[in-house]
Symmetry: C2
Subunit: 351 residues, 2 copies
DNA sequence: TTGTATGCGTTATCAA
DNA sequence: TTGATAACGCATACAA
C-alpha cells in the first residue's frame, strides 16, 4: 500500500490541501506545519503521484523521445544528453525506438503524447503534415530534420561533408562513390546533397550506391560494388557502413588508403582503433540531445532563448520557430590518402 | 484542445461510460453504437488518456528501465530488446541513465515508480535493502544482479570467462592480468571471481589492475601498466577497455598477439574490425532485455513462466523469485595467440 | 445494452 | 495561514 495525501494529512493532523501545498508551494505554509507535514510524509514514504498531479495541472513532468533505432550507436549519446538535461529539471523521459517504421513511430507517439509536456523526435519518419498536426497538440522539437514552423536542432553534417570532399580533392581524387543511407532519411539527403554540390564545385564526379540500411553488414556488401566500379574513394553514410567497407576491402586484398580511400560519418564508435583508423565527420551528438530538451523547456516557459551560435528564429505560419544548427568537423585519420593516379598505381586488376 | 470522453460522448450521442466501453470492453456494446462511438472518436482524434485511466484502474500501461549509462554500448541492445517487447504489448517505457550514481538512480526510480506497472533495473547501484523495499511497492526485475527473492535475468559471463582462461591456458600462458571494472559493480565481481577460480583450477597466476571506469581511455591508461608488469596476456572488463589497450600497445610497439594477448568482454561493438580483431566474450544482450520485460509481464499476470533453459525458481522470504540465466560464449579472433615463452620470445626490453 | 453516480490522487479556487 | 470543495479524464458498480 502506498501513501496518499489523505494518509499524510491524517497523520499530520492537517487537510489534504495543506499536504499538497507542503510540496508544491512550501512558502505559503507556516514553517511549523510544513515541517510536521514533511516529517509525516517521510515517515509514510509519501511522494506525490505525478500522474494525478498532471491531470489537474496539465503538466506531467515527463518528456518523450523517439529515435529510429536505439541500437544504432549514433543515438545513445543523443539520448544521454537529453536524459541528463531532463533529470536536472526533474523530468522523466519516455523513450521509444521506432525501428525506422513510420507506423510504429506514430503508435509510440500516440502512446506517450498525453503523458508528456513535450516531445523530441529524432530523425523522424513521419511526414510533414503529421508532424505539423502533432505540433498543435504538444510542444515539439525535431532533431536532424527541419520543418518550417517547428523548432529543431540539427547537426550540420553538410559542413563536414563539404570538408570531406575538399579533403579528397586535395589528395588528388577526381571521383568518388557515396554509399547512400535509408530511403527517405532527411540526414541522408542532407549529406548526399552537400556532397554533390561540393563535388560539382570542385569538379569531382560522384556516383551513388544504395540505399542501404546503416549497418556494418551493408558496408561489407557495398565494398564489392565499390571495387567493381574501380572507385578510388568512397564516402559512407555512416561509420558502421564505413567499418564494413574497411573489413571487406581488406578481405578482397585492396589496400586502404593506397588503393581506396574511405570516409565515414558520425565518429561515435571508437573508429580510431580500426586499422587503418577511419577518417570521419564528427558532430556534437550529446550536446544536441541536451539542446533539444533545452528548447523544449524554453518553449514551455514562453520566450525562446536566442543569442546562441547558429540559432535562427524565423516566423512561419503564425508562430516563430527556433532552429539550432550545430557544426561538424572532419577528423582526418589513416583511411584517406593520395589517389592512385597521383602515386602511379593503376586500377585494381582481378576485381 | 484535445478530445475527452465527454466530447466524444456528445458527438456520438451517448454517455461517457459508453465511450469508455467502446475502447475498454467493446464486446459489451451493441455493434452499431460501438461503430458510432469509434467513428466519432476518430473524427475528433480522441485517444484515451492513459494517466487518467491508470488512476482508476491501477495499471498505467508503462514500464520503467534504469541503466547506469546509456552511452555505454553494452546497454543500447538491452534497451532495444526491452522497448521492442514492450511496444508489442502496447506499453510505454521510461528510461533513465543513472551515471553510475546510486543517488541519481534512486531519484529516477522515485520519479517514475508511481507511473509504471513495473521496473527493470540494470546493473543497479542500489543496495540490497533499498531494492527489497522497492520490490514491495512495485513489480521489479533485476538485470545483471541477483538479490535473493527478486526476479532477475543475468548474463552468465562467468561461463565465458572460464572459457577465456582455458583458452589462454591452452595457448601456453601461465599468468595474466585482469583489468577490473568499477568498484561495487556486480558484473565486475562476477567476472573477476570466475576468472580467479578458473585460473586457480588451471594453475595460472592472476593479478588484478584497477578499478577502472569502463572506457576506451581507461584501456589506454591500463596498457602501460600491463607492459610494466611484463604480462603475456590481459583480460579486460569490457571491450571498450580492451580496444584502448590494443591501441596503446600498438603505440608502444608491443605486438598483439605475439607479445601480448588481449581478451575483451561483451562483443557489442564491431570489434572484429579492430586490428588485430578482438577475442571477446559474447552474451545475448538483446534477448536479455526482451526477457526482462517478459518476466515483468508474466509476474503481472500471476504465475511465472518456468520451463525455459536456465530458469530457476526458488522460494525465499515469502515469495518465489524467477532467475533466468543466459549463457555466454568465447569468440576467438586474432588478438589472442601463443604465449611468448612457447615461441621463444623473451620479455619486451625497453619497457 | 446503456446510463448514472462515484472515486482514483492531486491541485486550484474560494471562503474562512 | 488553512480548510472545504470541485474538477482533471477515466473506468466501474450498480441501476435501469
Amino acid at each position: 500500500m502506498v501513501a496518499t495525501v489523505h494518509q499524510v494529512a491524517e497523520v499530520a493532523g492537517v487537510s489534504t490541501s495543506t499536504v499538497s501545498r507542503a510540496f508544491g508551494r512550501p512558502e505559503l505554509l507556516n514553517p511549523q506545519t510544513r515541517e510536521a507535514v514533511l516529517s509525516a510524509a517521510t515517515r509514510l514514504g509519501y511522494t506525490p503521484n505525478r500522474a494525478a498531479r498532471g491531470l489537474v495541472t496539465g503538466r506531467t513532468g515527463n518528456l518523450g523521445m523517439v529515435v529510429p533505432d536505439i541500437a544504432n550507436p549514433f543515438f545513445p549519446p543523443l539520448v544521454k544528453g537529453a536524459t541528463d538535461r531532463a533529470s536536472m529539471a526533474d523530468l522523466g523521459v519516455f523513450l521509444a525506438s521506432s525501428d525506422l517504421d513510420a507506423e510504429r513511430e506514430l503508435q509510440a507517439v500516440q502512446r506517450m503524447v498525453k503523458q508528456v509536456d513535450g516531445l523530441v523526435l529524432c530523425s523522424t519518419q513521419l511526414d510533414d503534415a503529421t508532424v505539423r498536426r502533432l505540433a498543435e497538440t504538444t510542444r515539439l522539437v525535431l532533431v536532424n530534420r527541419t520543418i518550417r514552423g517547428i523548432d529543431s536542432v540539427v547537426i550540420d553534417f553538410a559542413g563536414g561533408m563539404r570538408a570531406a570532399v575538399d579533403h579528397l580533392h586535395a589528395l588528388g581524387h577526381t571521383s568518388f562513390v557515396y554509399l547512400s543511407g535509408p530511403n527517405g532519411s532527411w540526414s541522408n539527403e542532407q549529406r548526399r546533397q552537400a556532397l554533390r554540390a561540393q563535388a560539382r564545385k570542385r569538379g569531382l564526379h560522384v556516383s551513388t550506391l544504395g540505399p542501404y540500411l546503416p549497418t556494418y553488414e551493408s558496408g561489407v556488401q557495398a565494398a564489392d560494388q565499390v571495387l567493381a566500379r574501380g572507385a578510388s574513394a568512397v564516402i559512407a553514410y555512416d561509420d558502421q557502413m564505413a567499418l564494413g567497407v574497411l573489413t571487406r576491402l581488406h578481405e578482397r586484398g585492396a589496400r586502404v588508403p593506397d588503393d581506396v580511400s574511405v570516409v565515414g560519418c558520425d565518429d561515435v564508435l571508437p573508429v580510431g582503433v580500426a586499422r587503418p583508423s577511419l577518417t570521419t565527420v564528427a558532430g556534437p551528438c550529446r550536446e544536441v540531445g541536451r539542446m533539444a530538451v533545452e528548447l523544449l523547456l524554453a518553449g514551455e516557459a514562453g520566450a525562446g532563448p536566442g543569442g546562441q551560435l547558429g540559432v535562427t528564429s524565423r516566423r512561419t505560419e503564425d508562430r516563430i520557430a527556433t532552429e539550432v544548427r550545430q557544426p561538424t568537423q572532419l577528423v582526418v585519420r589513416a583511411s584517406t590518402g593520395l589517389a592512385r593516379e597521383v602515386v602511379g598505381v593503376g586500377k585494381l586488376s582481378g576485381k
